[in-house]
Amino acid sequence: MDFIELFRESFPSLLSGLTVTLKITALALVIATLLGLLFGLMSISNNKLLMFIARIYVDLIRGTPLIVQAFFIYFGLPTALDFKINAFSAGVAAVGINAGAYMVEIFRAGIMAVDKGQMEAARSLGLSYRKSMAKIILPQAVRKMIPAFINQFIISLKDTSILSVIGIRELTQSGEIIIASNYRAFETWGMIGIMYFVIIMLLSYTARSLERRLVI
């Protein structure tokens, strides 16, 4: 079997794995962004309790491996609370909650990077804290967060491969299944490497140009 043939045979399967990877990553990052925003705002609030909750979330999630979290959400919780969750949802939840903890810090850093004077100016005009945050601070923070956000995107994209432990057939898993049947590890890993690489390059170049255009 030459490489062309190998490619022809395995490409559709890898592509469908890639689709799963991208779907999970995208959905997870939506969740992560919401969690990051919520807990990020909590972590900069004046309320000690809210700050503490946010701190716990970040420490707990960053402090344990994703694989443990995935196991917990997919196998542990349903057993303990007696409900059923499908692997895809569990995977999205695990990666989302995991990335969310990092997003908290990204949001926090982004908000703190906005000059303090911006909030003071907004409040001085009579705007409420909430409105100042939403319309003045966050739009500026988001721009500053782009590089860190893309980094997280890349990390989550790769982390998705850990979900093979709960039976999700994403890109890495597809590759391993192919290798398990044809034993052409190097060529197959090569193809997987290139697929990740292409996606990540696309992402990081889009991000860089976005960043350039948004610099205000």
Binding site: F71, T79, G167, I177, I179, S181, Y183
Partner: protein, 241 residues
């Protein structure tokens, strides 16, 4: 690669014992697993006995199963004994010994699930399998015929948990492995449905076209073990009939 050079160097100097690096999985009781910090199991005991008989030394190198075949291909290790079924696909890239244990697939379902007794009861249901195993191959071969969905896992505990949680209806596992597990773990929550589905043999593997000497030694030693009763003693130690 270099593994070969090393052993041939030892060859020319007939007195020193040859030392091979042999890989195993370490997560596959009763064939290889860890007990009190030592690797034990049928595979390990067989290998040890054969090495003594044939006069070679070995260094045991446990690794994740999915690294074993690439490691053999790359010459990082000289041989592998890891409950590895002899299949046509594997024989394309590896040289494998005579079968040293008759195995076969068992259909495993959740404890108390008596609706599934044979393959036919599985139409439209979901299989959980471990990728790269004979079970995965079997499920793939019967996918069309039975109209089943296949979910792939990385390791055995996840695959079993999937069935226990009811996310998959059945799983396929090598008969001796699952029988052993159900026996030692009363809380396994699993049971075997029906009889052995297939019959296949585990073999010792080396890189294709290399280490013939080691492969021959294994075959020779295995034969002697069977003749002198040691083989039965080892099996009985782990699987009481």
């Amino acid at each position: 690669g270099c593994a070969k050079k090393e052993s041939s160097a030892a060859n020319s100097n007939g007195k020193t014992k040859k030392k091979y690096i042999i890989s195993t999985d370490a997560t596959y009781a009763p064939f290889e697993y860890e007990e009190n910090g030592k690797y034990v199991g049928i595979d390990i005991d067989l290998l040890d006995a054969i090495a003594k008989l044939e006069g070679f030394e070995y260094e045991l190198k446990p690794m994740n199963f999915k690294g074993i075949i690439p490691a053999l291909q790359a010459g990082q290790i000289d041989g592998a004994i890891a409950g590895m079924s002899i299949t046509d696909e594997r024989k394309k890239v590896l040289d494998m010994s005579e079968g040293y244990y008759e195995s076969g697939l068992a259909l495993v379902v959740k404890e108390g699930n008596n609706t599934i007794k044979s393959l036919e009861d599985l139409k439209g249901k979901t299989f959980a399998v471990k990728k790269g195993t004979a079970g995965a191959k079997f499920a793939e071969d019967n996918k069309e015929k039975l109209g089943v969905t296949i979910k792939y896992f990385d390791n055995t505990p996840s695959m079993f948990q999937e069935v226990k949680n009811g996310n998959a209806d059945a799983t396929l596992e090598d008969y001796p492995v699952i029988a052993y597990m159900i026996k030692v773990d009363p809380n396994s929550g699993l049971q075997i449905a029906g009889e052995k589905l297939t019959k296949n043999y585990y073999g010792f593997a080396v890189k294709k076209g290399q280490n013939k000497e080691l492969l021959d030694a294994f075959n020779r030693g295995l034969k002697k073990l069977k003749e002198n009763g040691e083989y039965d003693r080892i099996i009985a130690k782990y699987i009481k009939k």
